[in-house]
Amino acid sequence: MSGQSQVPAFNAWGVWAIYRFEMARALRTLWQSVATPVITTVLYFVVFGAAIGGRMGEVDSVSYGAFIVPGLIMMTLFMQSIFNASFGIYFPKFTGTIYELLSAPVSYLEILLAYVGAAATKSIVLGLIILVTASFFVPLQILHPVWMVAFLVLTAVTFSLFGFIIGIWAESFEHLQFIPMLIITPLTFLGGAFYSIDMLPPFWRTVTLFNPVVYLISGFRWSFFETSDVGIMASLIATLGFFFACLAVVWWMFKTGYKLKS
């Protein structure tokens, strides 16, 4: 048997195997994967859209119910991307099946592509489901659909990369929850998901500008309503900056075998 000719430069079957495996896990837990974020979103609409939103009037000429939609989608996108990617790589470490991944002829780039691709796919699908769900509650318009898709995909991929980093770093299930709950959730709530930062006093508006989530939500909201807290290019640069920072960390982790190889 001659192995050389049978081993292509890109292990497409390997990438597909991991991707399918990860997607199959989501399908096995379809109820949890889809129903939970949808119900949560509906509850947000009931609380913020109907109960509070009725007293809020419009924000930047957009009804409050519609205004919070991009923020809600982004919030789901952050959490689901991180959860899916971190769980995807942490679970084989936990069960010990990581040995198969490490001994297979797959490059680090291919591993990343498969895990991050699957995590991003799942969160993008969820984001779109929430978008459809929201359209039943509030009239929605998407003025820049190409930008909307670009921000959706870029954010899902970036936070999936971030989740992948957490999954490699984590040594317990508590670690998996630690960063999403203690860092991402507060930053999202303080990042303009439910309000425009123009509504804040000047001092807190300045402080908020140091929150990277502001740029992500603002850019995404701009693609819907053409209103934003910061310029669209600033949003794009911030998102790309986070993306490349995550890539650099992943590259270092693979290069050193950090918490993967002894």
């Binding site: 079957w13 390997g14 199959a24 490490l102 001994s103 002894s262």
Partner: protein, 308 residues
């Protein structure tokens, strides 16, 4: 024919400072069954893990069929199948899915006929739709073997394949291993069961405290280090070995009723006739005598003890 696996100067020191392997050199020929014996913590699993890409070596070089495991890792790894020591399997996947996953992971296009043949050869066909979590430990071990064989490897590593396995499965596995060797697959196994090595291996390596003490053909090893034992069953027990028998280096056994003499059967003079004459001169009566070859287990124990 060049070796299918070549290891030279391989060393591994873990972060905590523990030196698991020290300057190991080893060559494995294509199509042989090589058994690596060693006590717990000797470095067997570390050696396998380095070859398979799971652990990074501190120093040394490993080639698989001429391909460097680091520079040319894709080709090298595609030739290897690994059955790990621990029963590390997915829980919620079905047998069919997890074996198909392994084939894809190793870069092979789907081949349901091959997966079917593999599952049937391991008596897993009836369980193909079962979730792995519902299988017994023995069945999980078979699943791990099926996963390792799913991509048609040229070298199969079996790390303690008999650990926690019942007698039937062990016999089945031995038959499977022999069949694989017949098809040209090289088998490298680590084991605690000396009888497994004695039964299966063409060549045996002994590793102790991270050093490869020896690697030899099984028959040569048995012949060279095996020696033979002459046991004399005495009529009356001895409390100690008489000084007049000192030159034979005898031992007493069976509460003084057995006098044991270890000798090299390949030597021209074994020392047996003179020993029997001296015993007769001393008036020590014996009612029976027999000789036997030293087992691999005794050789292994003495090697590890001396190497330690």
């Amino acid at each position: 024919m060049p070796p299918v696996l070549s290891i030279s100067g391989l060393s591994k020191t873990y972060q905590g400072g523990f030196q698991a392997l020290t300057d190991v050199d080893l060559e494995i020929e294509k199509g042989e069954i090589f058994a690596l014996l060693g006590p717990n913590g000797a470095g067997k699993t570390t050696l396998i893990s380095i070859v398979c890409g799971i652990v990074t070596a501190t120093a040394g070089k490993v080639t698989v069929d001429g391909h460097d495991i680091q520079r040319d890792y894709r080709v090298a790894r595609s030739k290897i199948g690994l059955v790990p020591q621990e029963l590390t399997t997915d829980a919620f996947e079905t047998v069919w899915d997890t074996v198909s996953f392994s084939r894809g992971l190793f870069g092979k296009a789907p081949d349901p006929a091959h997966i079917e043949a593999t599952l049937k050869s391991l008596s897993l066909w009836d369980k193909r739709k079962e979730k792995i979590m519902n299988l017994s430990g023995g069945m999980k071990r078979r699943v791990l073997i099926a996963k390792a064989l799913s991509h048609e490897p040229e070298i199969l590593f079996l790390d303690e394949p008999s650990a926690g396995v019942d007698v039937d499965l062990r016999r089945d596995m031995w038959a499977q291993v022999r069949a694989l060797r017949e098809s040209g697959v090289t088998i490298i196994l680590t084991t605690h069961y000396i009888e497994e090595a004695e039964e299966m291996a063409d060549r045996i390596g002994v590793i102790s405290q991270g050093k490869l003490v020896l690697a030899e053909q099984k028959e040569t090893l048995m012949q060279r280090l095996g020696g033979k034992e002459l046991t004399l069953q005495l009529q009356d027990p001895l409390s100690e070995i008489p000084a007049e028998l000192g030159e034979w280096n005898l031992t007493l056994g069976d509460d003084g009723y057995a006098l044991i003499y270890t000798f090299d059967a390949n030597e021209e003079r074994t020392g047996i006739p003179s020993l029997l004459r001296r015993i007769s001169d001393l008036g020590i009566g014996f009612k029976d005598l027999n000789t036997r070859q030293r087992s691999l287990e005794e050789i292994f124990v003495s090697l590890v003890r001396n190497g330690a």
